[in-house]
Symmetry: C2
Subunit: 245 residues, 2 copies
């Protein structure tokens, strides 16, 4: 754990200190150096610092208070709008109103977002992803005036940390890495991989609070339920189509 | 351009020197420290070094020779398989066979991929994304034996560089960053943003070779055509559904 890339901690409490324009610009510039499909740069980043707009975003992001408290909120969007306008002004017919193009643009946006997060952390700032950007995409589209060809795919808050959380537990490397071909997960391997997490004090406390028998049930019954996933799947697909993909 | 995050260059020519197991492990471990939705880690990384399997992947990735030449090939997958197995072994009913869950897992995989790339570059290695992972997802699924719940979303090659390319031109920051609300792109702004790229010697040479009037036409008529995008959209959506999302 001695290397920068292994020291990430999501920050959920922020000081009110602003992030200077010059620092933010340098971090965003680092974002633009990420790999991008065919150098098209089919993404955009919306910067929000205005408290009135942040309050609207706070509603959308399930009222997580860090949206109000952190000085900077960034929304990363799959974006073919600028590219399409350029094509039309250059006697070229853009064929990017389809799912593959949406996904290509989403990849661009997500690689940029991770570059921005790491560049911010390297400058001493804290960040936290908001998993809710895809849940209420259509509301974010309204609030930020996103035109056709633009769909939000990730959002983060950024600022100076006001907490010192420990590093989050991750599963052992063998849980996520496969060599040459995908390996089978036997019950024995699953037990081994999840043993440390399932036997931790933190998990025991979560089971008690949630009145559940297993940690997996907290995910399936409370945090990421079938009903919510199905509801937000329909909404997100509708938003992608409505934006012209 | 004095900071690490602004120095990325995609590498397309590689030395045959292998990447050691310990170095690769450290880089992959850096990948696992990326943010992940609810700490579910719903992604996987398939490592390919075997020449026979790399030759199959080379076919899939439009016969780009760097797939054969670079010692390491990594495929990043949206992956609910391990999580679903865990849930079923723990008396929990996983509701993750839907589009939102696929996209959530794709986000996880893409943030990990970018962490891996930056960690590799920080160790002196070169990387290049293969934009073709989504085009032939169903063939990659066959080659790597990916089970239900697993879809490839990105692939990279990695190794020691055998070239020294210059840094790639990027559009000015204002092209991709918007403040508070999405700004309108007037023809004047588009002209300004694209002027440097369109007037470069590299672009002039591309226009000559491709016998096109504008750079945009090279994208729409040659590199990323409507016909290809529509064809691969259908194929990729079929692969996502076939894998159980």
């Amino acid at each position: 754990m001695n290397n920068f890339f292994q020291s990430h901690k999501s920050i959920r409490k922020y000081k009110s200190d602003p992030v200077s324009d010059s620092l933010l610009d340098e971090i965003l510039l680092s974002g633009t150096r990420a790999s991008t499909t065919g150098n098209m740069q089919v993404y955009s980043i919306i910067v929000n610092r205005d408290p009135a707009i942040k309050e609207k975003l706070w509603e959308v992001h399930f009222r997580q208070n860090m949206v109000l408290e952190a000085p900077v909120h960034l929304t990363f969007c799959a974006d073919f709008n600028r590219f399409n306008i350029w094509c039309r002004l250059r006697k070229a017919d853009p064929g990017y109103n389809n799912f593959l193009s949406f996904f290509t643009a989403a990849i661009d946006a997500l690689l940029v977002s991770q570059n921005v997060c790491l560049a911010a952390e390297e400058k001493g700032l804290g960040i936290c992803y908001l998993g809710t950007a895809t849940y209420n995409a259509e509301r974010i589209i309204e609030i930020l005036n996103l035109p056709q060809g633009v769909v939000p795919v990730a959002a983060i808050v950024m600022g100076y940390s006001d907490e010192e959380p420990g590093i989050t537990h991750r599963l052992p490397l063998e849980s996520v890495v496969h060599y040459e071909k995908y390996k089978e997960f036997t019950p024995e391997l699953i037990n081994e991989i999840y043993r440390e997490r399932e036997s931790s004090d933190q998990t025991k406390e979560l089971l008690r609070i949630n009145e559940k028998e297993t940690l997996a049930q907290i995910y399936t019954d409370k945090r990421y339920t079938r009903k919510d996933n199905e509801y937000f799947s329909v909404k997100f697909l509708e938003a992608i189509k409505k934006q012209g993909f």
